[in-house]
Amino acid sequence: MSTETLEKDQAVVAVKEPSEALLSKRRKKVVSDPLVDDNPITIQVLGICSALAVTIKMEPTLTMAIAVVFVIVFSNVIVSLIRNFIPNRIRIIVQLAIIAFLVTFVSEVLKAYYYDMFKVLGAYVGLIITNCIVMGRLEAYAMANKPYDSILDGLGSGFGYAWIILVVAFFRELLGSGSLFDFKIFEAIGWSSFPTNGLMVDSIGAFMILGILIWIQRHKTGYVESH
């Protein structure tokens, strides 16, 4: 909750200085914070479900990452645009309806243009609705900030999510299937007997890589969860 009030204060400041640069220091921070210091997955530990489910291979992971960035950015900007009209008592339902609309849209487009990807991702595209990152940003940021700032915030959180799942998928596909984007990397370098690790194909592999990522990051930033 403290971050929410802080962000509201920042918004007030922004209103007082209408000539703020398009990419001022504060705005850069809005984008860069969720990439590392306040990463939705490794620090806030949100969106773990999909981070485990779709990261077996790089290609579906990339599709998922693009879909999530799209949904976060657009739901952020839509909610921010109508934030002064949304009745407070039903704001969660309104946010949910907007997210659900965007997710259904993404799912329909995938089905029409990338049917193979649609089959692989299946239910997980629909489950973006339940990805806590999206709703978390709407409630904590877009409801209280102007559209342009909300776009930046959405980009930051979206890419913060995207790069983590791409890193997880990189190791899972490399070690679990011996390939990257379905290109058999070990056969290409002449090591065709590379022992693939079945654990990496399982969700357990994702947990392990995610755990190691969180460990490395917290070791670097010195972040400790307060109780």
Binding site: F85, I86, P87, N88, V94, F101, T104, K111, A112, Y115
Partner: protein
Amino acid sequence: MQQSNTYIILFSIGLTIVIGGLLSVTSVVLKPLQDRQVELDTKRSILGAVMDVSSIKDPDQVLKVYSERINSYVVDYEGNRLITNAKGDSIVAEKVNVSKNSKLPAEERQYPVFQAMDNGNVDAYIFPMYGQGLWDWIAGFIALDGDLNTIKGVSFSHKTETPGLGARITDAEVQNRYIGKKIYSSSGNLESVEMIKGEKGLPLDDHHIDGLSGATMTGNGVNAMLLKYLRSYENFMSKVKSESGSGVAAI
């Protein structure tokens, strides 16, 4: 004012209309493209049972090869050709919903048959199948040689079998194990082909293939599906055999 019930109700109605309208438009606009993708996917799977389609990337090329190679029709449980349904509409083999049909009693189902043609001769008969894996549905196609006994190829798909275990039924390496196996015993009984428990890599007879280590339940699902559908097509197969045996062309 913004907190009044009237405002909330009006806002909700407005939001519903806008979002519902946008989604309807999306759905209508994308429907033809989606139908084409589904059609392409089905035809790819059918062709996949008799040839390697992964090398054909161009969708139009897939459709062209399909129309050249595949002759399709629908038969009933007795093996008779079905031209129209109860309402008088013509039945298209590619449009038959195999999963819905699998829930009907065997006698009432529609059975699509896809004939792969080669210079006017029947190269292969392809039958669709549908069954239960460990977690959810599995489906597939089995292609039989013109003798309706030797398996020419299979292609399986699944919804949520475990990657690395049950999901291996989609691997070419596993599907290739079926090639050359026989569905009839030498005495003419329908035996089907069974995936054994365990993965030993030992040579097996004509009616068994090596199993999937750690995925016996999925293997059982595949076995049950194969047996069920081969039995369902048995009447059709004996009919074709007797007709060709008596010198009358199968078609």
